[in-house]
């Protein structure tokens, strides 16, 4: 009863009950971890968690758009690596200037986004097939381009000025960029035509088409935006971790999608929350930091993330079932 009252509260409604709960979970996790682990509650841990949150966050934001249209993209991880590899290889082996390399990274992401989007929107190939294919293609292309070599981006001191997008000294500049992009995404999704149509067509494509809307264009745009964000994610990945290898990247698909779904974006399409995605990603990043600090291997993080996502989605399913 009280719960219901809280839910009906206009402020809570505005912020979204789920998001408030999620934020609570995030804070609780942080407090518990700080109690359990010596000097957990310091800037260095936060910085390390942020490193993980940035690239994962951009991936998650990107895939939020795709899932909003009722699609799915699990090529984002390998495509991110492909972006970083092609641009990085251009930088290190072809002498392309840094600025241009960063643009190349984003362009590669956009090209993959457009490729996926075209096949899904215009050719009606089911999204999961498209992502399976482009996952392979991204790995293959990156590998061919780099001659199956890993690429290491330069350190900040040695011309890697792009790292100042991630942090300057001990200041996490990346968080500002990340929030700025997230806010832009949120506005795009909730207050512009593009967002309105993406969400609507995710809910009922035919109805939107018969309203005289060029659904193909908007659907494809969602994938392109996703590609763009994946290109940015690539920059943040190498900004934090320096090196990428061809043939990998799948491990990040799951976590990115998990972050997005945990935040309340519905796999059925039509419902998406950028704020939720952001919190979801932070939860995953904090979890990963916490698990390591507690002395466990990454495996436990995967298992816990899996279980959390199942719970989050189940809660969502139950809520919707109660509503209907």
């Amino acid at each position: 009863m009280i719960l219901k009252k809280i839910k009906e509260n206009p402020i809570v409604k505005k912020l979204g009950f789920n998001r408030i709960v999620l934020t609570g979970v995030l804070i609780l996790m942080y407090v518990i971890l700080s109690c359990l682990v010596n000097n957990f509650a310091g800037m260095p841990r936060v910085m390390s968690a942020l490193n993980y949150a940035y690239f994962l966050g951009f991936l998650s934001l990107g895939v939020t758009f795709v899932i909003a249209t009722g699609g799915i993209d699990f090529s984002i991880g390998p495509v991110m690596f492909c972006c970083a590899l092609i641009s990085g290889y251009s930088l290190t082996s072809h002498g392309v200037p840094m600025g241009l390399s960063l643009i190349i990274s984003i362009v590669v992401g956009v090209i993959f986004g457009a490729f996926n989007g075209y096949l899904v929107a215009y050719q009606k190939v089911p999204p999961f097939i498209v992502s399976m294919a482009s996952m392979n293609i991204a790995k293959g292309v990156a590998s061919v381009f780099t001659k199956t070599q890993s690429v290491s981006w330069p350190q900040a001191a040695k011309g890697g000025w792009f790292r100042y997008f991630v942090k300057v000294g001990k200041v996490p500049v990346g968080i500002i960029v990340f929030f700025a992009v997230a806010i832009a995404c949120s506005i795009l999704l909730n207050h512009t035509k593009a967002g309105r149509y993406m969400l609507s067509l995710g809910s009922n494509r035919e109805a939107v088409r018969l309203s005289g809307v060029d659904v193909k264009k908007w659907e494809m745009l969602a994938y392109v935006i996703c590609g763009l964000l994946v290109g940015i994610a690539a920059i943040y990945f190498v900004g934090a971790y320096t090196t990428v290898q061809p043939g990998y990247g799948d491990q990040y698909n799951n976590e990115a999608i998990a972050g997005c779904v945990m935040g309340g974006t519905s796999m059925a399409g039509g419902l998406a929350s950028i704020g939720g995605t952001v919190i979801g990603v932070f939860i995953i990043a904090l979890l990963q930091e916490g698990i390591l600090a507690l002395g466990f291997t990454k495996d436990y993080q995967l298992i816990i993330t899996g279980i959390i996502v199942i719970c989050a989605v189940y809660a969502d399913v139950m809520a919707r079932r109660r509503r209907n």
């Binding site: 993980y52 199956t148 070599q149 971790y241 320096t242 090196t243 290898q245 930091e289 002395g295 990454k298």
Partner: protein, 362 residues
């Protein structure tokens, strides 16, 4: 490297508590408080790392220190390893042993370690670009040399066959991946040494296959006129079955005399491929001579029964022990330096000799 960076750097912006804790071992450790070392390995996938961990634990017990080992799921999970390393640095241990998956990815974390006054010892693979003073010692096998050892032994067995060959012959090499420094060095070491030996005997050598190795070889030669062709294959991902696919494509060629798998997974891939092809053996010219790297029960078994001609093993156990010892020495104020370990050739004849046996882990 020399002993340094032990005194807390007053300018280091690290938190005060960390600085004090990092400083603690120097004065207190030997007498009172137990030392805490953290070890980051590349992964636990192959028994090579298991052996290293065993060595670490042995040394820890002997010295009475605490160690904690962790490593990513796979050697390719670079980001995971960086996170682990950063995490350990944040935990302010008395020292960190690191087998870096990637040379440059760890640099930021190493800088952090340096700032926090935590000594780092690299083992298995070095970090040549590490910030001055962060890595105090590197304990690693000379991988280029180990690859060369494999080539020398294989060439010695094939010398006559190659000399008498009327048509071009082929030597294969399977590298699990072409991204890890240690594996590429091994691969190149093998290619260069083999080419060198064959050229010395008046043969023309060409390197084909994966472009990185072709371009990285000292002399890539010309395939059309070569007498000896060295073909290098790299599977798209680190799985046994992909290594096996590449291996069978090479071993199916009729002119193949020998094949080298440059780490445990690649060598096991070659053996998997041989299940069907049945071409490996220890008779030069008649069968394909398979040469592996590292140990493990599968490779050991194959070497023992002659399916695999021989292999080069490193001593991960000794490396693990040395890592902890070195960390201990640093903590107790001793001066340390780099330690280079060797690759040992073993085949069915010397497997049980006392030099080799301790290095053949399961």
């Amino acid at each position: 490297g020399a002993q340094q960076a032990q005194t807390p750097d007053a300018e280091a912006p690290a938190a005060d508590t960390q600085a004090t804790e990092a400083a603690a071992p120097e004065s207190a450790a030997p007498e009172g408080k137990e030392l805490n070392f953290k070890i980051v390995v590349k992964s636990f996938q192959s028994s090579y790392w298991q052996a290293a961990v065993t060595g670490v634990n042995q040394a820890a017990e002997e010295l009475g220190v605490n160690v904690e080992c962790n490593g990513p799921n796979a050697e390719s999970d670079i980001a995971d390893q960086v996170n682990m390393l950063t995490n350990y640095v944040n935990g302010a241990p008395d020292g960190i042993g690191l087998a870096a998956c990637d040379q440059s990815a760890c640099l930021d974390a190493l800088q952090m370690a340096k700032d926090a006054g935590i000594p780092v010892v690299c083992f298995d693979s070095g970090c040549p670009d590490a910030p001055e003073g962060s890595v105090l010692s590197t304990i690693a096998t000379d991988n280029y040399g180990a690859g060369a050892t494999a080539a020398e032994n294989m060439y010695a067995a094939l010398k006559d066959t190659i000399a008498n060959a009327s048509a071009p012959v082929r030597i294969g090499e399977v590298n699990q991946e072409s991204t890890s420094e240690s594996i590429t060095q091994r691969g190149l070491g093998f290619v260069d040494k083999f080419a060198e030996l064959a050229t010395a005997d008046g043969k023309k050598v060409a390197v084909v296959g994966n472009e990185f190795y072709v371009n990285g070889a000292k002399d890539k030669g010309d395939e059309a006129t070569a007498d000896v062709i060295i073909e290098v294959a790299v599977p798209a991902q680190t799985t046994v079955e992909l290594c096996a696919t590449e291996a069978s494509a090479i071993m199916n060629k009729s002119d193949v005399l020998g094949i080298f798998g440059s780490n445990q997974v690649a060598a096991e891939g070659i053996l998997s491929a041989n299940e069907n092809l049945n071409k490996l053996g220890s008779e030069p010219g008649k069968t394909i001579l398979g040469v592996g790297f590292d140990a493990g029960s599968v490779i050991k078994g194959a070497v023992k029964d002659g399916t695999m001609f021989g292999a080069v093993t490193q001593s991960p156990l000794a490396m693990g022990r040395a890592t902890v010892k070195t960390l201990y020495q640093i903590a107790t104020g001793e001066t340390v330096s780099d330690i280079s370990t060797e690759g040992y050739w073993y085949d069915s004849t010397n497997m049980d000799s006392p030099d080799i046996l301790p290095n053949l882990y399961d």
